[in-house]
C-alpha cells in the first residue's frame, strides 16, 4: 500500500509530504517560484495534476504519472470564441480553481474555473468540453458576479460528483451559489433556498450567494455542508433546503474551508476566522472547530495551534481530512496536522509560502 500523501499547492510551488513511521516527511518540491493554485491525484489513473498560475504568463496545467519525478505540460481549457463573461467582456481562462477526478468516468477530470466555466476532459487535456447549459444560465450575466481573490469573473471553486450517479453534479460558485444537475449537465438548477446573503439588496435572493466551500458526505450524499460567506449551512435533502448553523460556545461562523467525514454526515470541521473585513484568526488564535451532531454543538480544538499573535487565515481549499488524519495550511505558510480527528495538532512546517490548497492523495 502506498504511503499516505499530502499535496500542498502554494504561492511558490508544489510541496509533497508523505506519512512514514516517523510522521509526515517532505517527499519533494516542484515548480519553485510558481503559484500552484490546486493539485490533485486521480485515484483511478494515479496521475498527479497541478494547476500553475503563472500570472503574467497565464494559467497552465501539468501532469505527472510518477508523483512528480517527471512532468508533462498539457493544454488548458479554453472558452468558446464568442463567450463573454459580461456583455462586451470576452471570456478567457482566468484561473483554474478546482480539479475533481471523476469516480465514475475513468480518466475524467472536472475543472472549475474563473470566469465561471465548468469543463471536463477525458483525454488529459487533448480536448475539453464546456458545460454549456451552466454557462448559458440566464442568470449568469446579470446575477453572477466576481468573488474570490481578485477575480474579474465568477469562480467555480467547488465541484461535487454524486457517488452513486454519474450524471448528478453540484457546483459552488462565488458569487452565484449552488447549482445542481441530475442529467449530466443538460440542465442546471440553483439550490440556494435557505441561504443568506447579507451583502445583497435581498439577503434571501435565489442567486448571488457566496458559498466559500461546498462539500458532500460521500456515504450520505443527501447531506451537503457549506462554509458560506454568511456562516455555516447544512442540507439534509441534497441542497433543496439549507439550514443556517449558528454555533454556540464556539468561534465558528465565518471562514473559508469546510470538510465532512465521508463516513459520518454529522461530523464536519471548519477553521474559523474573523468576518469579514479583517480576515484573520479569531482573537489572534487558531483553532479547528468540529461538530459530531450535525451542527448542533461545536468544539474548538486548540491544542498544538498558536494561541497568541496569530494572524493566519485558511483558504477554502486548505483543509483536508483522510480517516483520522486532518491537515490545514494557512496564508502565513503554517501547516498543521492531526492524527486524532482534529482534537490535537502538531506543526508540520512554519516556513512554506502562503498555502493555496491541501489534498490527501
Amino acid at each position: 500500500m502506498a504511503p499516505e500523501t499530502l499535496l500542498l499547492g502554494t504561492r511558490k510551488g508544489l510541496f509533497i509530504y508523505q506519512k512514514t513511521g516517523e510522521g509526515w516527511v517532505k517527499h519533494s518540491q516542484h515548480f519553485l517560484g510558481i503559484p500552484v493554485s490546486v493539485a490533485t491525484r486521480d485515484p483511478k489513473t494515479g496521475l498527479l495534476w497541478a494547476s500553475l498560475d503563472h500570472g503574467h504568463w497565464g494559467h497552465h496545467l501539468h501532469v505527472s504519472p510518477d508523483l512528480g519525478a517527471t512532468w508533462r505540460e498539457i493544454p488548458v481549457p479554453t472558452y468558446p470564441e464568442d463567450a463573454e463573461y459580461k456583455p462586451g467582456k470576452p471570456a478567457t481562462l482566468e484561473k483554474i480553481w478546482s480539479l475533481l477526478p471523476s469516480a465514475h468516468h475513468s480518466g475524467r477530470m472536472y475543472i472549475g474555473t474563473a470566469p465561471g466555466g465548468l469543463f471536463y476532459t477525458d483525454d488529459e487535456g487533448a480536448s475539453y468540453h464546456l458545460f454549456q447549459a451552466l454557462w448559458d444560465q440566464p442568470s449568469r450575466q446579470t446575477e453572477w458576479f466576481a468573488g474570490g481573490e481578485d477575480s474579474v469573473g465568477p469562480v467555480i471553486h467547488s465541484v461535487i460528483e454524486h457517488p452513486n450517479n454519474r450524471d448528478h453534479l453540484y457546483v459552488g460558485i462565488s458569487c452565484a451559489g449552488v447549482f445542481e444537475t441530475q442529467d449530466g449537465g443538460a440542465t442546471w438548477l440553483p439550490k440556494n433556498k435557505g441561504l443568506i446573503a447579507n451583502f445583497m439588496p435581498d439577503p434571501h435572493c435565489e442567486i448571488g450567494h457566496d458559498p466559500h466551500c461546498l462539500v458532500m458526505c460521500q456515504s450520505s450524499p443527501n447531506v451537503l455542508w457549506q462554509q458560506n460567506h454568511c456562516g455555516i449551512f447544512h442540507s439534509n435533502d441534497g441542497g433543496a433546503n439549507w439550514i443556517h448553523i449558528v454555533p454556540t460556545n464556539s468561534v465558528a461562523g465565518f471562514g473559508f474551508p469546510i470538510c465532512v467525514d465521508p463516513n459520518d454526515p454529522d461530523t464536519a470541521w471548519v477553521v474559523p476566522a474573523i468576518s469579514d473585513e479583517c480576515r484573520i484568526a479569531v482573537d489572534g488564535a487558531l483553532c479547528a472547530s468540529r461538530t459530531t451532531d450535525g451542527g448542533k454543538t461545536w468544539v474548538d480544538y486548540r491544542n498544538g495551534l498558536p494561541q497568541s499573535d496569530c494572524f493566519d487565515i485558511v483558504f477554502r481549499q486548505c483543509l483536508a481530512q483522510s480517516g483520522n488524519d486532518l491537515a490545514f495550511g494557512s496564508t502565513t505558510g503554517n501547516v498543521f496536522v492531526s492524527d486524532d480527528r482534529g482534537e490535537n495538532w502538531s506543526c508540520l512546517t512554519n516556513c512554506l509560502p502562503p498555502v493555496y490548497s491541501i489534498q490527501f492523495a
Binding site: H54, W57, Y79, P90, T92, L93
Partner: protein, 90 residues
Amino acid sequence: MPTVQFTSHLKAFFKLPESMDVIGTSVREVLDQLEIQFPGLMSYVCDERGALRPHVHIFLNQAVIVDRDHLSDLVHESDRLFILQALSGG
C-alpha cells in the same frame, strides 16, 4: 530578418536563445513563427483569443506595440522585438 529577444523569465519554460532572427512582417507573423519553433510559447505570451496577456509587453525597437489584441504592428527587416513581462507581483 527582424531580431527577437526574450525576458529571462520565459527561458524558464523554453530553451530560448539570447536573441534570434525570425521571419515576419508583423508582430503576429513573428509570434506564429516562434510558435512553430517553440510549441506552446504562444500560450504563455497570448491568451486563447490571441491577444497579448495583460501583463506581457512587446517592445518594437524602443516603443511598446500598439495593437495588443491582433498584433498587427508592422515589423521591418532591421527591427528588434523584445518580449518581457510587467515588473509586478511578489
